[in-house]
Structure formats: C-alpha cells, structure tokens
Amino acid sequence: MIRAVPYLLFALFIYLLPALLAGSYWIHVLVIIGTYVIAATGVDLVVGFAGQLSLCQAAFFALGAYASAILTTTYHVDPMLALIIGMIFTGLVAYGVGAPVLRLKGYYLAIATLGFGLIIQSCLVTFASYTGGPDGFRDIVPLRMAGYIFKTDEQYYYPIWTVAMLILLLTRNIARSKVGRAMLALRGDDVAASAMGVDIARYKIQAFVLSAMYASLAGGLYAHSNRFISPQMADLSRSVEMIIMAVLGGIRTVFGVLIGTTIMKSIPEVLESFLDYQMVVTGAILIVLLLYMPQGLIGVVRAAVARLRRGGER
C-alpha cells in the first residue's frame, strides 16, 4: 500500500495542475507532453526492457495519427472507434515487420527498423490523395465521446493524461510480471535467456507490437488534439527524440519517462528562438547523456545521494 502513495500523489498533482495553470499556454504544452509520454513508454518497453533498438517508433506514431485522421475526417468513423482501429492496424503492421526483422541483431536490427520508418514516411508523402501529401492533413475532426466534443486544450488534458497514467501503470505491471522479467533476460543475454527456456522470439515480438500500439494510440490522440499532422512526424529525428525521452530521465522507470518527455517537450517552449538550435541541442543532449549519464537524471540523483550518505557515515 505504501508503495502506491507516490503514484497516487502524482495522479492528484496531475489532476490539480490545470487549476494552477488556468488559461496558460502551458496547458497546451502539457497536452503534447501527455501524448508523447504514451509513445515514450512504448520506447521504454521495447528499447529499455527488451533491449531491441527500434528506430521506427515515430513511424508507428504517424501510422496511428494518419489512421485516425483518415478514418474520422474522410470516412466519418467515430473517433473512439478510429483510435482502436488505428491501434489494431498499427499492431498488425508491427507484427508483419517485426516477425522477420526482430530475428536480426545489433546494427542490422537498427538499420532495418530505420529503413522501415523511411518507407512509411515516404508512403505518407506519396499517397497524397489519402494523406494530403507533404503539406500534411488539415482540419482533423476533434475527439468525441458520447456526444461530448473535445475542443480546447483544457478539455483534452484530462482524457489524455488519464490514458497516459493508465499506460504507465499497465507498463509498470507488465515490467514486474513474468513477461517483464523475460524481456529483461533477453536484454541481458538472449542466448542465455533462450537456453533457460525463455521463448525469446515471442517476447521480442510482444514488446515490439505493444510499443507500436502505444505509439499509435499516442499518434491518434495527437491527431485529434492538434488537428493537423504531417509526414514529418514519422521522421527518423522524431524516433531519436522519443528514445531520448525514454533515456533522459532514467530508462526502465515510470518517472524517468515522465521527466524525460517533459524536458524534451519543454525545451523548445522555454527557448523561443530555439528552432534553429533544436538539432544541435538534441544531438548534444543525446551524446552527453549516453557518454556521461547512461542511467539518466534519476541515476545522477541516486549516485549523488549515495555519495552524500557515504560522506555522512565517515
């Protein structure tokens, strides 16, 4: 029970936050952060837990977004249903790609997923009659639930963050289950895991498909709340950004994903003239992070606390 306290406090904080920020632009930023938390949790699952470097998470995000946009706006499908269809569709695509590709390791897996992401991005540009082509898809139908239409950022805040927290909870539970332990085992040493009777192919696929469905859900929510999407969102740089979100706070931790995503999506808002510097800063963050703090910010704090404690004992 005690363990649940930080999580409950966090949920309370999330639900009270809009009251503190009433009318502020930051509500808009928080809505974006919420959607990306869902996608970054998927990255944490496949990269962090299962140890499979997937460089096409942004493509799954885009698939979900475009599926939702096309189904609701062009074919007038109910938005909630469209989100679910999008997730199933993206999951099936991920299964189709993952089954052959996840047999690859290391560089080959990374390059194969990267190539797949580029193919998706190119298809979004090419099939312009469905997707709107390079200019993107405009005027996407807003989210609608039981006749209630979501329009403002305040209205999107609660459903998106509720979904985000449910996804975090679900992922935390998966991580601590038999499945999660199996995934950790194949991250450590998949030959040993296989020898111990872990069906490595199955768990790799499960992690990959689940992460793709998270990304798709996030993409769908993003499409409805933002009402405009473009093929740019499937770009490799976005996949890399999602990996930074999962690693920056601290990989394989619920709060790590929250911290990482919040930082990555806040930086452009804090520094308004950031646009031109975005790439330099993103690249530098990634390099510094991997070289000097592989356990992320949480790891840095933990190490500092441990050092202080040792100092106190002396």
Partner: protein
C-alpha cells in the same frame, strides 16, 4: 526508333552509375571505419554534406582556386571526423552496439544542426570541375562530372583495397577491430589508428560530397538520405568488404535509375530500403561474402 530506345537505356545507365558511384564512396567510408573500429558510423552522410558545403563556401564564398578548395575541404572534414571520434565515441567506457548506434545518430543530428546554423536551409550547388559542355555517347548525353565521379571511385576503391589487404600498415589497422588488446600487445597503437580511420572516413565522405555538389543541390539535411543509401549499399555488398561496397553502390544506383526510368519515380527514394530490408531478411551477409569469413 531502336536508337532512341538504346540512347534512353544508355542515359539511364549513366545516371545510375553516377549516383551509384557516390553511394559506393559513402559505403567505402562506412567500411573503412567499420573495419578498424567495428563502429557503424551513421554520421557518414553528414561528412558528405559537410564536404560539399565547405567546398562550395571556400570556392564560391572565399574565391579560392578549385584544387585548393577541394584539398582544404577534404582536410577540414577529415578533422571533423577526428573530433567526432574524440568527443562522441572515445569517451564511451563500456561500448555496446546499441550505444554506438545512438551515439553516431546523436553525432549526425549535431552535425546537421551545425550545418543548419552555418548555411541555413538554402540549397547550394557548385560548378563542374572541368569546363566542358556535356559529352555525347550512343545518343545519350552526360555531364563531364560523371567521369570525375566514376574515375575517383575506381582510384579510391583500388587504393583502399590495396592498403588494407596488401600492406602491413593496413593489416595492422584491421587488427584493431579483430582484437584491440592483441593488436596493442603486438605494438599497434590502437588509439592512433582509430583516429586515422575516422580522419580517412571523414575525408572519404567529403570527397563523395564534393564530387556530387556540381550535379545536384546540397542542403544541410541532404546527407542523411545519402548516408543511409550508402549504408544500404554497404549491407548489400556485405559490411566490411571494399569490392562489396563498390558492387552494392553501383547495383543500388542502377536499380534506382532503371526503376525510375522504366517503372515509376514514386518509389525512387524507398527502393533502397526495400532492397535493404529484403537483403537483411534473406541474406544478411550481403551479396559478396567477406573473403576472411
């Protein structure tokens, strides 16, 4: 009628060989770094872009003579390669493939960002190296730059192959990848050789970019796609193999130009990755197996 068919085919083949040669040069750069360090450098395309941009700035901006601009840019990007190794790769304490991939991706993003700050989003181009009008052959016409591109590929690939397969120094450099500890026990200075390989990798990338600049437009983010196609070529030919890089690059270039010419241009840019995925799934060792395996 027959002759127009022929000249059209020749035209497509020339176009394919030209772009294929550039892919091959990028692939050679990949293999060059990979064979010494086992790092697959995903920033190789950025070296190409930097080479082209630096050359254009030195030549058109600073009005340096062309040969000086070419040599200077090659050296500058080679040094960028050294810095890349020094700051993005070498500090890594426990190298793993996943970390190395992400680090080179981070480096690629960083270099792209720097180029954006220096050159902005405008496309640049350069004049051809030789002041000749286009050359005709079997009814097809092509830019004299093509001869420079293909000629350079022939020379570079031969020199690399000779150096790494036939000279002691080249073999010592390859030993760094096979077994760094054993190599250093044999008196090989692994750190220096890794540095040299990154310098050469950067220089090779720059050469590809400078050759390409007169026949296409260069933008700050143009390198990524070229890098990935170069990587696809390297995989196609078998990672680490120099003859494989040349064959892979040319095959990819020809596939692209022939499919664009005879089928449709829609999938030009993704063809490379469809081929890449197929090769990875069916035969990951590539078309040309490495001689030492």
């Amino acid at each position: 009628m027959e002759s127009t068919h022929l000249s059209q085919a020749v035209q497509f083949i020339f176009a394919g060989l030209t772009s294929g040669s550039i892919y091959a040069l990028v692939a050679l750069g990949f293999n060059m770094i990979y064979n010494v360090t086992l790092v697959v450098n995903l920033a190789q395309g950025e070296f190409l872009m930097l080479g082209a941009m630096t050359m254009i700035s030195l030549y058109s901006g600073f009005k340096l003579p062309l040969p000086v601009a070419l040599v200077l840019s090659t050296l500058i990007v080679g040094c960028v390669g050294i810095l890349f190794d020094r700051f993005a790769i070498r500090p890594l304490k426990k190298p793993s493939i996943m970390l190395l991939i992400l680090l080179t991706l981070g480096g690629s993003t960083f270099l792209k960002g720097v180029a954006l700050l220096i050159w902005g989003k405008d496309p640049y181009t350069a004049p051809t190296f030789t002041k000749l009008k286009s050359i005709s052959f079997l009814g097809a016409s092509f830019s004299p730059q093509m001869l420079w591109i293909i000629g350079t590929l022939v020379v570079v690939s031969f020199v690399l192959w000779f150096f790494f397969e036939r000279t002691l120094l080249g073999k010592a450099m390859r030993a760094c990848a096979e077994n760094p500890r054993a190599a250093s026990l044999m008196g090989v200075n692994v750190k220096t050789f890794v540095m040299i390989s990154f310098f050469l990798g950067g220089a090779l990338g720059a050469v590809g970019g400078m050759l390409m600049a007169p026949v296409s437009f260069m933008v700050y983010d143009e390198g990524t796609m070229m890098g990935l196609k170069g990587f696809a070529s390297a995989v196609l030919g078998g990672i680490g193999s120099y003859p494989g890089a040349v064959v892979g690059g040319l095959v990819l270039g020809l596939l692209e130009s022939l499919s664009t010419g005879y089928v449709s241009s829609i999938f030009k840019d993704i063809l490379a990755f469809v081929v890449l995925l197929l090769i990875l799934v069916i035969k990951p060792t590539g078309l040309m197996k490495r001689s030492d395996e």
